[in-house]
């Protein structure tokens, strides 16, 4: 198997679209939902996997690439494209074909008023809410949820155990999260509507990255929006606030794909991956990339090989 590393993937970002630059750009111009350029045609013409701007999503993208590659499908991973708000229009426009997504977050992006929280119900609701041309495949075992965490000192000082406790300190606490979380239901909007929480300030930081974790450590923010698969939560002894009203839905990893690429080969390969990958695996892979500075592609390939998914 040819050795493609993180940077190989990075380069693909630059060259592949460069080759397809004209067609891709023009197709996007012609409107969303059209037969996009991405890899063009069916999965036989290759699948372009887009990933969001955080480590785990890039690992998932490379895991998708590993199992699809083993099934004989040519793939390109485009790392670090941005947020869901940027990625989904790009998927509709055909710049990319496949995205590693998260059930609940995706559902709330498509339908801010969605009430479903159970996995099966969410899967059905997603099928209804998705725009034409896109579909989700069966969700996997691994889950990465949003968490709202505070330091142990803050938890003791304000008596914080659950998200509901935050409302007793309205106008006093500062929340740090990625900029998009300000307008998301699973974020500032939902915290206000469900729990009546009003923060003193919303600080735009990053997705469970160096900014938000640094700010929580330093005390620049009181509450931080993190991912449950982030090993720093345990390592730093941060307290994840409980969610008695189920504001935060289940967040199983789920592939979001353009219809034209979702043939049986692709479905089968991604389903095998979904059944094999656990939350613990995902957490460990995150740690290897963030802490051991390994390439997302290398850890993805090693894990897939060890679990006989690329054989």
């Amino acid at each position: 198997m040819n050795r493609r590393t993180l940077l190989g993937g990075l380069f693909a970002t630059a060259t592949v679209p460069a080759v397809a630059a004209c067609s891709s750009g023009i197709t996007s111009l012609e409107g969303e939902g059209g037969a996009g350029a991405g890899g063009g045609g069916s999965s036989a013409d290759g699948v372009t996997i887009g990933t969001a701007n955080f480590t785990e999503n890039q690992i998932l993208g490379h895991l998708y690439a590993a199992v699809l590659g083993a099934a004989g499908i040519r793939t390109t991973v485009r790392p670090n494209l941005g947020t869901r708000e940027i990625l989904i229009p790009a998927l509709k426009g055909g710049d990319i074909d496949l995205l590693p997504e998260y059930q609940g977050a995706l559902l709330h992006y498509l339908d801010a008023k969605a009430k479903e929280t159970e996995e099966g119900e969410m899967q059905n609701a997603l099928a209804v809410a998705l725009p034409r041309g896109l579909q989700i495949l069966p969700y996997g075992r691994a889950e990465d949820s949003d968490a709202f965490a505070v330091t142990r000192e803050t938890a003791e000082k304000y008596g914080l155990k659950s998200l509901a406790d935050l409302a007793r300190h309205n106008g006093k606490l500062v929340i740090g999260a990625a900029p998009e979380v300000k307008k998301r239901t699973v974020g500032a909007v939902g915290l206000k509507d469900e729990y009546g929480v009003e923060f003193k300030e919303f600080k735009s930081l990053d997705s469970s990255g160096p900014l938000v974790k640094g700010a929580l450590k330093k005390g620049d923010v009181d509450v931080a929006n993190l991912f449950t698969t982030d090993t720093d939560i345990l390592a730093e002894g941060w307290v994840v606030l409980t969610d008695p009203k189920n504001l935060i839905p289940g967040q199983h990893v789920v592939p979001l794909i353009a219809d034209r690429k979702a043939d049986s080969t692709v479905r089968k390969a991604l389903a095998r991956l979904g059944n094999a990958l656990t939350t613990e695996d995902l957490t460990e892979l995150n740690r290897q990339v963030d802490k051991d500075k390994k390439d997302p592609e290398d850890v993805a390939n090693a894990w897939a090989a060890a679990h006989r998914l690329t054989k």
Binding site: L10, A14, P17, A18, N53, D290
Partner: protein, 214 residues
Amino acid sequence: MTVEWAWISDHASDLATLTVSHLQAALTAVALGLLISLPLAVVAHRIRPLRGLLLGLSNVLFTIPSIAIFVLLLPVTGLTRTTTVVGLTVYTLVVLLRNTVEGLDAVPVKVREAARAMGTRPLRTLLTVELPLALPVIMAGVRIATVMSISLVSVATYIGDGGLGQLFTDGFQRNFPTPVITGVVLTLLLALVADALLVAVQYVLTPWTRKRGA
């Protein structure tokens, strides 16, 4: 902050491909910029009222943050290389347009008149007399535009492109200085080499300036 040399040697071929991609974006933008600015500059040079408008407009474009240009292009060109190249081209226009107009201005009126007196057509005068004489100033603009573009490519990392700029976001997200240092050094080297090559090109293209200088 230490540099992990092993990481660099492990990723040598990837760094090479990133560098090529980086350079490709910058050079395409400069080429497009030249293609657009040359006719515009001739118009600005010939038609006085348009001159202020065109130069003023390009100056205002220069004050808009590059990241904003890239984002605003997303609905039109999507998450593609085209977005990067078009965004960069906008910035090269500022430098190239101004320098080309100034270069044409510097051609003595007498030279044009002499050409006309000899019966040379205006277009021919422009191509064979004026533009060659303006070349040193135009080339100075090309050098500035090239170095600037090479530096600016990395901003496109915020829209998932950006050549060597990808090393910056990667290093940032993982608290990993080695890719960042590598990216900065490679960008500087790339700019330095490109600038030196352009000096050489100019030397070859404008033999008369050499004689005059000697």
